[in-house]
Symmetry: C2
Subunit: 319 residues, 2 copies
């Protein structure tokens, strides 16, 4: 499997106007990173557009964005998009097509549109449907970073430092457009990597989407039991960490599950098969089989943590 | 369901000699808590006994214990247990019966034995088998605290602060013996709660044992996939927290799964049923059903976190 790493000069990045649709955790953190990390140059106007005026007003109040526009206001939207270098879609993935259809009539030919959606195959299909022959302006992306908190108050300038950002360039994208988006993300401290949409969706289904479903499911199971309150009262550190992601945005994860259902179902079925194997070992009292699986997992998890820590240290040292 | 809370004066706790079988994370943290938190009085000799001389020697070197004895040495074991107020078993639960059989010939009539096993029904059965008519000396217990690290170096003096310790008193226990064990744990900063072994095992199967199995299973599934390295390289914060407990002791969790298999299988089957329901919703693209489950889980998880934080703050304020 080929994973291409994009390397260009970090200092090359500059922009005049960035329009962010959805100034929550993801969009707000990009805005704060570009503003506060000091690695971007240019006029640097950031415009926040949202469905909820409360959310964009809050982003303005926090200084996350310089200007706001309401999605439903044609004149404001036209003004916001006029002369924009970049547009970032940072909304639940099911909104990709309606958002792009809404934006398309006001989009300058020189504007590069990218997104932060957690799934990519469906986003590409939505973008093709919405943009038609202008699809070359759209560079699909996914910053792999997050917190369980959401909204503009949750945005952090260092959310993307040493995090992976996946770009899934389309055949229609000009190489310069892809490099511009990569440079934008690198200016936030992120590592930019390139994959196909299908690779991306399979990998993320495994290490992100499935764990979210499993975590939500555990809380749901306890809620459904007759002694839920007692169980919660004895839940401790293991439960805390296992279920942290069950406090994530229901709307976002609903969209992810539906958008990436094919890959997710494959992973869920493979997981259920592993569980069935463990169930048989538990029922049979086969301690050796259980210990073998647990020991293998422990080694792999520990090695992953070591490599991650080493990568973070390297990233810090190279700044 | 009745859960009794034990309340006595914290200052009432004192001891002369505590013998700990297994001076790793759990046993070592009790020793350090009693030594360093300054809430216990008396001569306070702590003796560490272990299968591995490396582990007990390390505990001695770290100052976690004052003396050590080898489990296989009759004379040393007799000397260690002579005049002991307390014995704590802090070894994987499958060792309960052989350990108690080994200890029984050297046990003073006045010594109270307790344990830190993660399961209780099987521990009680093992203790009855090993101690016979002296079962009254054994007060079953379980401090609900842990870290994924193990061994004496992982021991912390504040591991039990604001954590639950469950005691499962037997009909044969003198109330004073139960109170003495409760006072010991309260001296570490823990909250002592009382349940039956069956209640304990069902609750812990749900909020602790099952999440461990699910976490080990996810790492195992990724390891089994052809693109494991790529997947691990894109795993981020959600994966990190979800799988933290997959770095736990394989031996301990093997024993827990086998010892508590009845309750664990019940919980695993209920969980699999929830997963099947979510699978159907994903396959059908039923976003409303998914969002309903995710939203319920998010609220419950957030409320749990708030109550936990409030409890911790209260605990800190009341010290």
């Amino acid at each position: 499997m080929k994973v291409r790493f994009l390397v260009t000069d970090v200092a090359a990045f500059s922009f005049n106007k960035l329009v962010i649709f959805g100034v929550g955790l993801i969009g707000g953190s990009l805005a704060r990173a570009l503003r506060e990390r000091g690695e971007a140059a240019g006029a640097r106007t950031v415009v926040g557009v949202g469905r909820s005026s409360a959310s964009t007003a809050r982003a303005l109040e926090l200084g996350v964005v310089d200007e706001t526009a309401a999605l439903g206001d044609d004149a404001a939207l036209r003004a916001a998009l006029s002369g924009a270098d970049f547009v970032l879609l940072a909304a639940p993935v099911a909104q990709t097509q309606p958002l792009l259809e809404r934006i398309a009539p006001f989009l300058d030919a020189g504007t590069i549109v990218t997104d932060a959606g957690s799934t990519k195959s469906d986003v590409v299909a939505s973008a093709r449907a919405a943009l038609g022959v202008r699809i070359g302006q759209f560079v699909p992306g996914h910053p792999i970073a997050g917190r369980e908190a959401s909204g503009p108050d949750a945005a952090l300038p260092d959310l993307y430092v040493n995090r992976n950002v996946v770009l899934c360039p389309l055949p229609e994208n000009a190489p310069e457009a892809v490099e511009r988006v990569a440079a934008m993300w690198r200016a936030t401290g992120a590592c930019v990597r390139e994959m196909t949409p299908e690779q991306h969706d399979r990998v993320l289904a495994s290490v992100s989407h499935l764990p979210h479903v499993l975590s939500f499911a555990l809380v749901e199971q306890i809620l459904n039991s007759p002694d839920a309150a007692l169980k919660f009262s004895f839940a401790a550190g293991g439960f805390r960490d296992f279920t942290r992601i069950a406090a994530s945005s229901p709307e976002m994860w609903r969209d992810v599950c539906v958008a990436n259902r094919t890959a997710l179902l494959d992973e869920l079925d493979a997981y259920t098969a592993v569980l069935a194997r463990l169930r048989a070992a538990i029922e049979a009292g086969d301690g050796a089989a259980l210990e073998a699986v647990f020991a293998r997992s422990r080694v792999a998890r520990s090695e992953w943590q070591e490599q991650r820590s080493a990568g973070a240290a390297l990233g810090d040292a190279s700044k």
